[in-house]
């Protein structure tokens, strides 16, 4: 089991990098840009086999940041390619991320029904 402080450190550092990107680059970096950047970078690093060691070291510190979501997509895809071949390249990612995506959509919809934006 990953100790808590490792997850705290790993997650903290990944968020700190995001903050530096926001503050040091020219303006107009929105949360959308950050999220797209993290999921893509995570997925690429995962494909190169560089993300798994990070997950082994800091656990949720690497899986909870959105780069971990990219890692999840790629690992799902790679597992599916091993079992199903070409078809797996198209089905594996969504299969692995199904729970997260569905949760986000359903909870998003429910929250929209229950709550109004506040002042």
């Amino acid at each position: 089991m990953t100790p808590l402080y490792m997850a705290f450190l790993g997650g903290g550092v990944l968020c700190l990098i995001g903050q530096l990107i926001m503050d040091l680059t020219k303006a107009n970096i929105t949360p959308g840009h950050i999220l797209v950047g993290y999921i893509s970078t995570g997925a690429v690093l995962s494909g190169l086999g560089l993300y798994q060691p990070l997950v082994d070291a800091v656990g949720a510190g690497a899986t909870i940041p959105l780069s971990g979501f990219g890692h999840l997509l790629v690992q799902g895809t790679l597992r599916a390619v091993e079992s199903d071949g070409l078809l797996g390249a198209f089905s594996g990612g969504v299969e692995a991320a199904a729970a997260g995506i569905t949760c986000a959509i359903v909870f998003g919809y429910v929250a929209a029904v229950l709550f109004n934006p506040k002042d």
Binding site: M22, K26, A27, N28, T30, P31, P117, K118, D119
Partner: protein, 336 residues
């Protein structure tokens, strides 16, 4: 006898100076808590104003401000021969829908946050030109309605930068007449669009400051006046960052910004109010004019006022397409 009321390149002087006979302002809760809270006619308890959406609340604020300005002079809506209004939202919906309720002849104008000066100067021309005896110039903005259109959904966790401005929830309306008692609109400078390549959508002040400087410089050149002619020169909504830049530009242009220069975006809120650089939005200049500033003119504390309402003609679509943010500023001189 062509265009004998025009001076220099961009300025007009009025002959039968139109009179601001009445005015009214309605502001949101945050503006009410600011340093001028007591000078507005109505401070809303919440941002909904009894409506179901922020856009509808904004429309109601404009409509009520117009009614209030007329009622102060015991006039009814039907006494207004024309309504000139605009706002920040797409298709200027607040103005259009308020005009639907008021059912008077209506011209919608868009000048982003410069709209108060734009409606005022067009109105003054129409009155001085003897086309109308009595008309309304008005504008409004609503923080959350603007926020969701120009920025992010309200509940999204985003971090403001030090140059971010807070769109004012406010509406202001003036009644312009060819005769009556009140401060008079004496001259106006129509601004040109100035764009010095600013692209930061979280910094409207820097985008608008060159337009403000250009309009002011032109105003003083066209009328061969010095800045100390006015008791107060006030820009629309440059806020702290834009105002600091504008002051540098004034000095470059040989104008003296102190001590009679200020900015509505800086004035409207207290520094502790968590508004970052300050206020913005059509309602910012409108509420400051139709609240504290005209009140001070009535009391004789200010006798010569130059309102330079500034607008960032920003469009999210054009920003995504890589365009920079054009700015505009119109100046209106109001004298007792």
């Amino acid at each position: 006898m062509p265009a004998y009321k025009k001076r220099g390149s961009q300025t007009v002087v009025f002959e039968d100076t139109p009179v601001i006979t009445s005015w009214a302002s309605i502001v949101g809760p945050k503006e009410g808590q600011g340093p001028w809270g007591g000078d507005f006619d109505q401070v809303l308890a919440d941002y909904m104003f009894g409506e179901k959406t922020w856009e509808k609340a904004e429309k109601k604020m404009l409509q009520e401000a117009i009614n209030l300005a007329l009622n102060k002079r015991d006039l009814q809506v039907d006494d207004a021969e024309l309504i000139l209004a605009g706002d920040l939202l797409n298709q200027t919906v607040s103005a259009n829908y308020a005009a639907r309720e008021l059912a008077r002849p209506f011209l919608g104008l868009y000048g982003a946050c410069s709209t108060m000066a734009e409606t005022l100067l067009v109105g003054a021309m129409l009155v001085d030109g003897k086309f109308f005896n009595r008309l309304i110039s008005a504008t409004c903005s609503h923080h959350y309605a603007a926020s969701r259109q120009y920025r992010f959904p309200t509940e999204q966790g985003t971090q403001p930068t030090p140059s971010t401005q807070w769109t004012a929830t406010a509406a202001g309306a003036v009644v312009l007449e060819w005769a009556g008692v009140g401060p008079r609109v004496t001259s106006a400078t129509i601004g040109q669009v100035v764009d010095l390549g600013q692209t930061d959508v979280a910094d409207m002040g820097s985008a608008m400051a060159p337009a403000a400087a250009h309009t002011l410089k032109t105003h003083f050149e066209d009328l061969q006046r010095l800045p100390d002619y006015y008791d107060l020169i006030v820009t629309g909504d440059l806020a702290r960052v834009g105002m600091a830049i504008a002051e540098q530009l004034f000095i470059r242009d040989g104008l003296v910004p102190r001590p009679n220069y200020s900015d509505c975006g800086v004035l409207l809120y207290d520094e502790k109010q968590d508004v970052d650089a300050g206020g913005c939005g059509c309602g910012c200049a409108a509420a400051m004019l139709c609240g504290p500033l005209l009140k001070k003119m009535l009391a004789g504390e200010i006798n010569k006022l130059l309102l330079v309402a500034t607008g960032a003609l920003m469009s999210p679509t054009m920003s995504f397409q890589g365009e920079s943010i054009p700015g505009i500023a119109h100046a209106v001189a109001i004298e007792n």
